[in-house]
């Protein structure tokens, strides 16, 4: 399994470091996306645009949006997180996701 080169950057139009984009280069099958995030204590929420958009929410209050068509992953932090902690928190969450997707079998 190749190592994932994961890039995280602040999402466009983001307020106060709340939204981040996580880049994963290889296409993730959406059922595996869901099952892997469940192992990290995420729960699936029914997004109004499901299945075009998958939304997973964490018990700590942050959530992940995944667009299967374009492989876009958006992290939305809990708004109650103190602002000075958000960048670090986003990095930690992204790192957790890197680790879990190292175990995924990718297409292509």
């Amino acid at each position: 399994m190749k190592d994932q080169k994961l890039i995280i950057r602040k999402e466009s139009s983001c307020f106060n470091n709340l939204k981040w984009r996580i880049f994963i280069t290889q296409q993730i099958p959406h059922d595996q996306f869901i099952s892997q995030l469940i192992t990290l204590d995420y729960q699936e929420k029914i997004h109004p645009l499901y299945p075009k958009i998958i939304e997973m929410s964490h018990t700590e209050g942050h959530s992940i949006i995944f667009v299967p068509k374009t492989n876009r992953i958006q992290l939305k932090l809990n708004i109650d997180l103190e602002e000075h902690t958000r960048i670090e928190k986003a990095s930690i969450i992204a790192q957790d996701i890197i680790e879990v997707f190292k175990t995924v079998k990718y297409q292509g």
Partner: protein, 413 residues
């Protein structure tokens, strides 16, 4: 309770005209009114219009839901206030006085998010919630509209934790009840037309409309975060009432009148840049339509579709030549619904928002590189819209001047 007119693409909540706007537009418009009239007169107008239009909405909701008791009606008011993305508002009181406690109120909260670090605000920001509170008590107790007057004393935008509103008997008993009903709105339009790329516009608008049907204020805060902005379902009567009544109040001062018109046009820039632009670069858009490639023909269709889906009217692309010209035509505008009833036979077309929006379409299409990541920052806005737009807009026909359609033409400056 949300319905959409097939003829006009107008949106109604319990038969009350509504549209979707983001916090950038909301804050900009409220500030514009204060700039034109002064804070005191501006706040007075905004609260009064909010109270009137909220009274209309809440009366219709009570009729539709059958809410009978005071508690039921106040609960209904709070529920819909939050559901429409305006925050949390708890209203209590009797026929003569009351109070409202607000948290995450849209205007105050988003103002504090956008400006709070840099600016100390002197005055409360939640004129809409303030007027709404008064209307909620009036409807709860079957009082006449304008019987009560609310004042916001503390606001999150002034760096306090929550917002506090007092409600008392209205000493001036303002009986102006300028509302636009569903019938008024539908009758202010002409026969629907179609334009270029109609299939794309219709399909994308439908997808967005279906999506927004499921969107509402979150349970915890009563606000809607979508497309990188805070969205409200808001009362078109509020926007129109404050805009056109402010214009009317300024009519004897040509300099202020002109400046106000320009700012109302600029509100279209603010909305298109932040809301429309935010939608095009959002994860939701990628899921629904796909990532924009930068093809101008696609972009003009997408932007037009967004206008329809947000309830602005049945906007159509009469003509589009990339790099040269855009003619937007429509048989319905939310602005004219108000003008047609209260400011008929205008001397010149005055649908300012659609003028600004059409021009902003061309700026976004031609000045942004859609193949690269786009960050919709205030700095980018200034670079696009301040100091040489490269485009100019003229409204050549107006439903507000009894033409068959509203037509705006954007060409190179």
């Amino acid at each position: 309770m949300r319905t959409i007119s097939k003829q006009t693409d107008f949106i109604y909540m319990a038969d009350t005209p509504v549209i979707y706007h983001c916090h950038h537009f909301n804050l900009f418009l409220d500030q514009t009114i204060d700039d034109a009239l002064g804070v005191e007169a501006g706040t007075r107008l905004k609260v009064q219009v909010a109270s009137t239009t909220a009274y209309q909405l809440l009366s219709n909701l009570v009729k539709a839901s059958g809410a009978e008791t005071v508690m039921e009606r106040l609960e209904l008011a709070s529920t819909y206030f939050s559901g429409m993305g305006h925050g949390k508002l708890a209203i209590t009181g009797n026929k003569e006085q009351g109070k409202a406690e607000g948290s995450y109120l849209h205007y105050g909260f988003t103002w504090s998010q956008k400006y709070g670090k840099r600016i100390n605000r002197l005055n409360p920001a939640d004129a809409f919630a303030t007027g709404f509170s008064a209307a909620a008590l009036e409807v709860a107790y079957d009082l006449e509209p304008g019987s009560l007057l609310a004042t916001e004393h503390e606001c999150i935008a002034q760096k306090v934790k929550n917002c506090h509103i007092d409600i008392n008997k209205n000493p001036s008993q303002n009986n102006d009840y300028n509302i636009v009903t569903r019938e008024d709105a539908e009758q202010s339009t002409s026969d629907a037309i179609e334009g270029q790329f109609e299939e794309t516009v219709t399909n994308v608008a439908k997808g967005l409309t279906d999506f927004t049907a499921a969107v509402g204020g979150d349970e915890e805060r009563g606000i809607v975060e979508a497309f990188g902005v805070y969205v409200t379902m808001h009362l078109s009567g509020y926007y129109n009432g404050i805009s056109y009544q402010a214009l009317n109040q300024c009519k004897d001062n040509p300099a202020i009148l002109q400046a106000l018109g320009e700012l109302l046009k600029e509100s279209g820039h603010v909305c298109v840049f932040n809301t429309f632009g935010g939608m095009l670069i959002s994860a939701e858009w990628e899921g629904l339509v796909g990532k924009p490639t930068g093809d101008p023909n696609d972009l003009i269709a997408y932007l037009t579709a967004i206008g329809r889906a947000l309830g602005f009217g049945k906007w159509c692309i009469k003509e589009f030549v990339a790099g040269e010209k855009f003619v937007l035509e429509t048989s319905s505008t939310y602005e004219n619904a108000y003008c047609n009833k209260y400011y008929k036979n205008q001397s010149h077309p005055s649908e300012y928002f659609v003028q600004g929006a059409a021009l902003a379409f061309m700026v976004l299409i031609h000045k942004l590189d859609w193949t690269q990541p786009i960050d919709l920052t205030p700095e980018l806005y200034d670079s696009l819209f301040k100091g040489g737009l490269g485009w100019k807009v003229e409204q050549t026909k107006g439903l507000s001047t009894n033409d068959e359609v509203t037509q705006v033409i954007v060409t190179k400056a």
